[in-house]
Every structure is written in structure tokens, then in C-alpha cells.
């Protein structure tokens, strides 16, 4: 009954989607690990990134992959400014306030998008939108293969930043020990904003990789954030490797669920996993922080 010729492409497809989920979750888990908050504006900011890629393409003819040079740095700047100018200032150091501030931000951003772009879904047309490549005998969309490679590269780059640079060490130090960080001369407000900026830059990269095979609408972020949140819980709150592995697992589960249960029920598996993790291993697969 189980035909490997159908299952293998499905698994590969799931891995490519999962890598993108992982990228979104990476930003979420980084921000959680350092700032100890769930960024409710994550989905809205992914949407901003997607509109950025769409706008650059529609109005300036910039290819989504060329937009990698523009959108992630711009998203980094937006994230840095949001944390430093609004979230940090409005929260007065209380976590529950940060939660509400990010929730409020997401509402404002989404409604601005509705106002400017209406609720139409928009896509980017590229000459390679329908190209496929053969991987292990399965034909996969070229854009998804690129997205997979790009997401893994980004994860590797983030890992290098976190482990090999003073910025990364300062981020990890601040995540656990704010007073100690201040006493070695770390500018804590700056590093908080850098962490937020990096997390949002991940969304910018995800937006560039996603746009050629996906669409954008003002609500597009919701589905991603729900899944990213599941991944963060599955992988362990604040764990980088956990987010990566969790993302890939969720992608495959979703693809196989779609294959065996039908497209509309495909996501059942994700939330089944979510519930099982919460019951049996609430710290996640790799329950350590960054």
C-alpha cells in the first residue's frame, strides 16, 4: 500500500518546507532565548518581509534572490529599531508588557498592510517559478531546493555568529545573566536590539526564499507563526539546533499527513505532535536555552 515512489518525494518536499519553517522558528527562538518573550509580531513581520520582496519585484523588477541583499538588512534595521525604540521602552522591563506590546504591534502592522495592499493575495512571477530539479529520483521545484539550501546556510551562519563572535557571546551571556553582562561592559539595550534585529533578519531571508514559491497577503504570517511556535516548543524553547531539527520534522510530518490524510487534514499531525510533546516532554527535544 505504501508506495516509496510517492513517499520519498513527499518527504523531500516536506524537508524543503520544513527548512523554511525552521528559519522562521530560528528567529522566534533567538528572541525568546534572549529576551524571554514570545514575539507575537513575528508573523506580521514575516508578512512585511514578503511585501518587501513583492514590492521590490513589482515596482523595481528586483529578483527575489537579489532581494536577499536588500530585504534582510532592512528587516534587521526594522527589528533593531522596534526593540530599541518601542518594545524596550514601552515594556519597562516587565515581560508581560513586552508580550502585549508585540501583540499590539502585530495588529497595527497587519491593519496597515490591509489598508495599503487590501486583502488580495499577490505572487511574484519569475522565469524559474516552475522549474524542477531531480533529487534522488524525485522532481522538486527548484525554488524549494534553493530555499532548503538557503535556510540551512542561514542556520549555519547564525550558529557561527552565536559561537564565534563577541556579538554572539554577548547575546548568549545576556540571555542568562543580565547583571554579569552589564558588569563586563556589555551595552544591554544595544545587545537586546541586536538579538531582535537578527531574529527579524532571519524572517527577511525566509521572505526572499519563500516568495518565489508562495504568495503574500496581510494574514500570511498567521499560519507560519503557529507552526513556528510549535517548532520552538518541540525543539526546546530557545534552542537553535532544536528549532532546526523541529522545523524539518514538522515539515515532513505535514507533507506525509497531507499525503495520507489529504491536504486539508495534513496539519493534524503537527498539532498532535505539539500536544504529545507538551504531555511527555514539555522541555522539548533539546530542552536547553541558547
Amino acid at each position: 500500500m505504501v508506495n516509496l515512489d510517492i513517499v520519498l518525494p513527499s518527504v523531500l518536499n516536506g524537508l524543503t518546507t520544513g527548512a523554511l519553517y525552521a528559519l522562521v522558528a530560528l528567529g522566534l527562538t533567538l528572541i525568546y532565548g534572549v529576551l524571554h518573550i514570545i514575539n507575537f509580531a513575528h508573523g506580521a513581520l514575516l508578512m512585511v518581509g514578503l511585501y518587501g520582496v513583492y514590492g521590490l519585484n513589482a515596482f523595481a523588477g528586483v529578483d527575489p534572490y537579489v532581494a536577499l541583499l536588500i530585504v534582510p538588512p532592512a528587516m534587521f534595521a526594522i527589528g533593531y529599531a522596534l526593540q530599541r525604540g518601542i518594545i524596550g521602552k514601552a515594556s519597562h522591563g516587565r515581560d508581560e508588557n513586552i508580550l502585549l506590546v508585540t501583540l499590539g504591534l502585530s495588529i497595527v502592522i497587519e491593519n496597515l498592510a490591509l489598508y495599503f495592499f487590501r486583502s488580495d493575495t499577490r505572487i511574484v512571477d519569475t522565469p524559474y517559478s516552475f522549474s524542477t530539479v531531480e533529487v534522488l529520483g524525485a522532481f522538486l521545484p527548484l525554488t524549494k531546493v534553493i530555499a532548503f539550501a538557503g535556510a540551512l546556510l542561514t542556520a549555519a551562519l547564525m550558529w557561527l555568529i552565536m559561537t564565534r563572535t563577541d556579538l554572539g557571546r554577548a547575546i548568549r551571556a545576556l540571555a542568562k545573566e543580565r547583571k554579569g553582562a552589564a558588569l563586563v561592559g556589555i551595552d544591554t539595550d544595544h545587545i537586546f536590539a541586536m538579538s531582535f534585529g537578527l531574529g527579524i533578519a532571519c524572517l527577511g531571508i525566509a521572505a526572499c526564499l519563500l516568495m518565489p514559491s508562495y504568495y503574500v497577503s496581510p494574514q500570511v504570517g498567521h499560519g507560519f507563526v503557529l507552526i513556528a511556535f510549535t517548532i520552538v516548543v518541540l525543539g526546546g524553547m530557545g534552542s537553535f539546533t532544536g528549532a532546526l531539527i523541529g522545523g524539518l520534522i514538522i515539515g515532513v510530518v505535514e507533507a506525509l499527513g497531507g499525503l495520507f490524510l489529504g491536504e486539508s487534514l495534513g496539519q493534524i499531525g503537527i498539532f498532535l505532535i505539539f500536544i504529545l510533546v507538551l504531555i511527555f516532554r514539555p522541555t522539548g527535544l533539546l530542552g536547553h536555552r541558547v
Partner: protein
């Protein structure tokens, strides 16, 4: 090196420091003594910029530093090793030391790591280990080592002997004397009056947010009040 006058500070409406005058000359070990809750840690926090002063002046090497944030005082070489260590438990011992030079001493980082390793051979064995897995004494060494990484002009050691076994306490005080012999200026904030007096060249005794007594340790030890309240002598 450090001149503090009329320093006042507190939390909310509660005044903890009620006009502190204190000065430290270069090359000295100065002890700031007093029992729990008299404001010693508040004092070090205000001097390093973790808290803002309410009034008074703080001058460090001639420059007014009152109200500057910690990153600015660290950049000037005023290094505070806090009570409770506050090392980074999720980072390796080596990474902790590297971050000690985050704001100051970066050009000599590798050489200074070697220097710290020479002072604390036990830390060197644990370089690749997560700092959170160290014993209390090792964590205290790491906290001091991390402070040394910033090439301090003045090192504030807040309760370095707290929570250590008597043997380790001995070792800690011997180490502090050694650091001072190498030319480091140290403000030793302690409850441990006897051992601090032994190595300090000047001591201040704090009570209820004020400096109660100050002078050379040998003179202070003769003070009947100090004998009664801190040494348990009638």
C-alpha cells in the same frame, strides 16, 4: 584613584546610602566592612554604575563618573566582581574570560587569558567546560579572572569569600594579597572583618548607610566599639 564624597542612593523611597565619604589611593587594598544589609553592595553598585546615585560625587582618576552606566565605568578600568559571582553559566570558562575583555583589554585578550590561567591553574583545566558546572570556589575564581581580563585600574571585589569553605577563604585572601602585590588597586567589600583587616592597608566600617569608622586596620582593631560589634569581644 577613587574619591567618593557625600554619596547618597537607595531603592524607591528607601535611602540606603546616607552620605558616604571614602577614598582609595593607587596600589592599596582598601577594605569596606560591615554586616549584612548596611549598604555595602549598594555602594559598589552605585560606584560601578549599575544604580544611579541620588546625590554626592564619585571621582575616578580625577574624572567625575557619578551616574555613568556600567559600560562607561568598565571602559575606564573600574571593574566590579559582584557578590554572587554572576558568571555566565551557559558559556564555557574560556568564553567567560573572553567576554571579560568585551569592553576593555581586547588587544591583549589572548595574553591576559594566559595570565589568568597562570594565576588560576584550576580554571585552565576547565577551559572547555560550561561555567555553570564549576564548584562555588571555581566560580569565584572565574569571576575574579573575568574581572582581570579587563585590565582593571581598580578592582572591586564584593564578598569574594562568601559561601566558600574556610580553607578556600584562606586561599582567596592570599590570592587577593598577591594581586595587590602585583600592583593592582583593590576595594575589598567584606563581612569577614578579621581576615580583611589582615591584608588591607586601610579600612572603612559601614553601618546603617554611613561610614562609622575608618583608619589603618591596626588602629581600628583597638577600637572598643569595633571589638564589641564585630569581633565579639566585650
Amino acid at each position: 584613584m577613587l574619591e567618593v564624597s557625600g554619596l547618597r542612593a537607595g531603592y524607591g523611597a528607601v535611602e540606603v546610602l546616607r552620605g558616604i565619604d571614602l577614598s582609595i589611593a593607587a596600589g592599596q587594598i582598601v577594605a569596606l566592612l560591615g554586616s549584612n544589609g548596611v549598604g555595602k553592595t549598594t555602594f559598589s553598585s552605585v560606584v560601578t554604575g549599575l544604580m544611579r546615585p541620588w546625590g554626592g560625587t564619585i571621582r575616578f582618576r580625577g574624572e567625575a563618573i557619578g551616574g555613568l552606566p556600567a559600560r562607561a565605568t568598565v571602559a575606564r578600568g573600574l571593574i566590579h566582581v559582584p557578590e554572587g559571582r554572576h558568571i555566565f553559566p551557559n558559556l564555557t570558562v574560556r568564553e567567560n574570560l573572553e567576554l571579560g575583555a568585551y569592553r576593555r583589554g581586547k588587544p591583549n585578550r589572548e595574553a591576559n587569558i594566559e595570565r589568568v590561567a597562570a594565576v588560576f591553574p584550576r580554571l585552565k583545566e576547565r577551559f572547555a567546560q560550561k561555567a555553570g558546572t564549576l564548584s562555588g570556589g571555581e566560580q569565584q575564581m572565574l569571576a575574579i579572572g573575568r574581572g582581570m581580563m579587563a585590565e582593571p585600574e581598580l578592582l572591586i571585589l564584593d564578598e569574594p569569600s562568601i559561601g566558600l569553605s574556610p580553607l578556600l577563604v584562606e586561599e582567596m585572601f592570599a590570592l587577593i594579597r598577591r594581586l595587590a602585590d602585583d600592583g593592582l588597586t583593590i576595594l575589598l567589600v567584606e563581612q569577614n572583618v578579621l581576615q580583611s583587616m589582615e591584608i588591607a592597608s586601610h579600612a572603612f566600617v559601614m553601618e546603617n548607610g554611613e561610614i562609622r569608622l575608618s583608619g589603618r586596620p591596626a588602629e581600628l582593631m583597638e577600637d572598643p566599639e569595633l571589638q564589641r560589634s564585630y569581633l565579639g569581644l566585650a
